[in-house]
Symmetry: C2
Subunit: 437 residues, 2 copies
């Protein structure tokens, strides 16, 4: 049989049970989908590829899913560091956004983020930012998979004047993206402390009707909890529950402050926690009890947060940090194993976004969202266990090739759908503008 | 004036007070030393370089100092992960070492480590392992700076049969290295729980006489403290103090368990703590209270530990992790700033090793231990603050050039003193042997 792409790989990690790494296997891609995965010797007998790749030094794995980011904020990478969350937001980020937010900012910032993510093996991202229509357009042009957050926040911005306008613009975009292959939407109320009850109730109803995730920052810091208890008498998660938002559509970002009862609540509801370890550490927000959440049965995915508080969109770094900090917080070196971190960065993200039948693992029938990582470099030698090397030793620069829905977006480290030189020029202009503050 | 090397750089970070990053400056190197640092416009008038480098997209900074590692253990990278310290040591690492330890193991393992360190911008390492004579030989051949730990441990190995032999071999090596430029030694009793009082007392005396550092794992885990208190009635640091080891020569590695009194003791003594955040996290050993120690005036340096428990020798990753975890542990996002992390990875390491007049910052008169990092890559754009990008966003793959004592050991990412292909072949042989366990 003649197929579009045939990849012979040194190792393949499917991230499907039984979670074994298979050696000398091949992945067969046709019409954007994985149609077979079998020993290379057999693959060479059964298939002829229009494109054939011999990647004997490489491991193939599902593309990584960045389950929480603010893509366009990449333009503010490193502009204000070593500051607490509220100081950072109120005195640096929000004033800059107020001054500069525009379609052009989101267009160029999202392109920068997409370029960085593709070069680092991320094939899908869950975004939350203004002008999600522009982010969707850039994702589609670049060919990356994305869930666009339909932001809602109590104060007016250039994107919308009030919660009704935020919501109606969001619903329009959801409709526009309905039949597209790579992009869809999630409701994205910013946080309990920035969105009031009325819009949250509307979002709960729309989310159920449209079966879309609800992507929200929650329990990020102890301060957030204290303030909420003072103002409402309730912890934020309790308030969300009363508003009908704690269910399998909930994508709860950060969650560094959780009681055992709250962990059970999230587990029983089938909700997702998106763990953003580097952002939580950098802003000294607290420690998400990841091992405890996983043990309780919560779906825990992984996100970088925006590049303004990380300061990168590196899911390899994030996997490593998640595994390392997960052990230390659990006081158990066997907690959050390398394979667990990899699942958080792939299939658990797909589940969070309602995309588990489409991406997040290498299973026959799923879209071919695949990355190849060269393990022959000195830094990942010797090689006893590919999963261990990926999580604890490899860097994202070892990602050589990336396919999304069978289309090759990174080819031997070269981006195929984004013009790097043009992008660099645009970033330089933004750098000059933003540095004028 | 005609000089050996003239480097015109986009930015230079001297890591000297006032800690400002200077723009468009040049570094002048002659006879292995930094002889000037001045604006590029002036440099072009005053100096002619035999070699001239135009690195407008790069930042120059002092080479990084890895203040605690077990270089040769790189051959065991990833062989046993997700295990607690004592299980990892007793059931995996120590049996493998018992079976395979030899001059050849240390030779090839140290070469692997040196190659990885040079490619990642590390110009000096503080080693602790068997056959330090072999490690010294490999460091000298490669041209990297190293302090070789004269290991002492209560049990016999192929390197020495008892503490007297460990010590006498160590003293011989110290003598042999006396007049060499790049290598010297430190006493390296493994840990309080593996070295008894008599050899520790001898080490205390020799260290004072020879003015060499005493490099020791200490207070790595709560278990270590509990066991010591049970067996001796004392916390290990108290025991070291009584044995005369707590002074300015002490290089105390890990120190995740410290009372306020112990922090004061270390500060008053002028001792160094070597913080190894990734190893501490991975083995769930505990959290070193870095900000508190720095505030108390302790010299805190940074180490990767061995690649068997990290799993890399990446000082860029280690700086990032140190800054991130330092904030979270201090519950203060302004703690352990990017510049603080960079100081820990450079000048504080030099102080620990008694090399502060020789390396660790870019000061006129010091050896030219210098690295160049390309910040023009997408992942470090836009660029508002070079120090912030180095610590929070750059990867070690952006290190393009490395000089040690004025000799260029990495040239546009190519190693000049190590044969990579030969090394890879040797590693492959070790991989086969060790995997047979």
């Amino acid at each position: 049989m003649i197929v579009d792409t045939l990849i012979h790989a040194g190792w393949i990690i499917t991230v499907e049970p039984p979670f074994d790494t298979v050696k000398d296997h091949s992945l067969v891609i046709h019409d954007g989908r994985i149609i077979d995965l079998l020993p290379t010797r057999q693959a060479k007998q059964c298939y002829q590829g229009t494109v054939v790749e011999n990647l004997q030094n490489h491991v193939l794995l599902p593309g990584l899913i960045n389950s929480h980011t603010h893509a366009a904020m990449s333009l503010m990478r490193g502009i204000a560091d070593d500051l607490p969350l509220m100081d950072w937001l109120q005195n640096h980020i929000w004033p800059l956004e107020h001054q500069w937010m525009s379609e052009a900012f989101v267009k160029d910032g999202t392109d920068l983020a997409i370029a960085e993510m593709l070069r680092g093996g991320t094939t899908c991202f869950n975004d939350m930012y203004f002008f999600p229509n522009i982010a969707a357009q850039q994702a589609q042009q670049a060919g990356i998979r994305a869930t666009l957050g339909l932001i809602v926040i109590d104060f007016p911005t250039v994107w919308a004047k009030d919660s009704d306008e935020y919501l109606s613009k969001g619903l329009t975009l959801t409709e526009q993206l309905r039949d597209t292959e790579l992009c869809n939407t999630a409701f994205a109320p910013h946080a309990p402390y920035t969105v009031s009850d009325a819009p949250l109730q509307k979002i709960a109803a729309y989310a159920q009707e449209l079966k879309r995730p609800v992507h929200i920052h929650i329990h990020e810091t102890a301060h957030e909890i204290d303030q909420a208890v003072e103002q409402t008498g309730k912890r934020p998660l309790q308030r969300l529950q009363e508003l009908g938002l704690v269910n399998s559509l909930l994508v709860a970002v950060h969650a560094t402050q959780l009681t055992d009862a709250e962990i059970s609540l999230l587990a029983d509801a089938g909700a997702t926690i998106v763990h953003c370890p580097e952002s939580n550490l950098k802003l000294a927000s607290g420690f998400c009890p990841v091992a405890k959440c996983l043990d309780a049965g919560v779906n825990v995915a992984l996100g970088t947060d925006g590049a303004a508080s990380n300061n990168d969109l590196d899911m390899f770094g994030e996997m490593r940090t998640a595994a390392l900090i997960g052990k230390a917080v659990a006081n158990d070196a066997s907690a959050v194993s390398a394979m667990t971190a990899l699942r958080m960065a792939t299939i658990n993200g797909a589940k969070a976004l309602g995309l588990a039948d489409e991406t997040g693992s290498l299973r026959i029938g799923k879209a071919a969202d695949v990355i190849a990582v060269d393990l022959s470099q000195l830094e990942t030698q010797p090689l006893y266990c590919p999963v261990s090397q990926l999580v604890y030793a490899a860097s994202r620069q070892q990602v050589t090739d990336v396919w999304v829905a069978g289309r090759r977006l990174l080819h031997n480290r070269q981006l195929t759908t984004l013009n790097l030189a043009e992008l660099q020029e645009k970033i330089a202009v933004w750098q000059q503008r933003l540095a004028e503050k």
